[in-house]
Amino acid sequence: MTPHESTRPLLALSAAGLLDADGERQVRQHIRECPACAAGLAGLAAVAAGLTSLPSPAPSAALLARTQARVAAQLAARRDRISGVALGVAGCGCGWVVSLATWGAWDWLGGNPAILIWLEFSAVLAGLTAAVVVRRRRRAERSFR
């Protein structure tokens, strides 16, 4: 392979700034002796320079506003899901605490297991209901903003 043949594929890489120092040296050395490759490199460099300043279309203001709104809505929906789970867990925890606090009352009522189940169930249900109410209220507040 002649120096001309081995250097020619490097010209585009040189114009693109992708050659290492050795490759760049080889190109520089060759174009001093080869007008065809010097012309080729000049053309490629001009195209490369032109590519950095092509007309740059911008997204419309409406597209940007729509995208921002959809991204914000997606983030809000995710926050809702997370806060819903957190409130649910908190509600169950509260229910559990209430049932422990009423343990004495259950004991005083004779230690009937049915009463205990009823107490536990109603406490947890009250906690979950409170969580759902809080979540809905937050969502409604956000939709009014």
Binding site: A38, A39, A49, L51, L63, L64, L75
Partner: protein
Amino acid sequence: MIYEAAIGKDFPVAETDEAARLRRRDPAALAAVVDRYQHRLYRYLLRLVHEPAAADDLFQQTWLHAAGQIHRYDPRRSFDTWLFAIAHNAAMDLLRRRTGESLDDPDRGAEWAAVEPDALAAAITAQRSAILAAEMASLPAVYREALTLRFEEGMKLEEIAEVTRAPLSTVKSRVQRGLECLRQNMAARWRKEDLI
């Protein structure tokens, strides 16, 4: 070398603290990033798919995906490549569904021929941007993508490889062949216009 002199390197990147805010899904941080990357992302998508309506859809799709997957973003890596990789996947899905758009690396066409420097320089000087944009649009998608990421986004080979999930050698060859094709087309077009 010539390219390095022609392009600035001060592209905006997401700061580390901003990356942390993004990972926490801070709406203000995401809004700021959407605003900051709007031109670059839209330009990249439009170069790939040509049609503004398709680019609009992909633009939204990319940001919605980015917002949903932001917890997967590793702040030690470049936000640019992460975001552009999402856009790349969305655009490639669309191009695959389209008929007549090849995503394969084209075979090497006719060997590159030397042309007179004055002729090419004149062609490039006269309406360079418009002609180049039109010629760029006629290139195969993989070349368009490699050239726009290299020359308009100023990405390094490694970054382009990360965005396109292609080996370094493939990316290098796409930039090289894309540039040579463009130069050939520019020369041919000048000759044609000169004859009219």
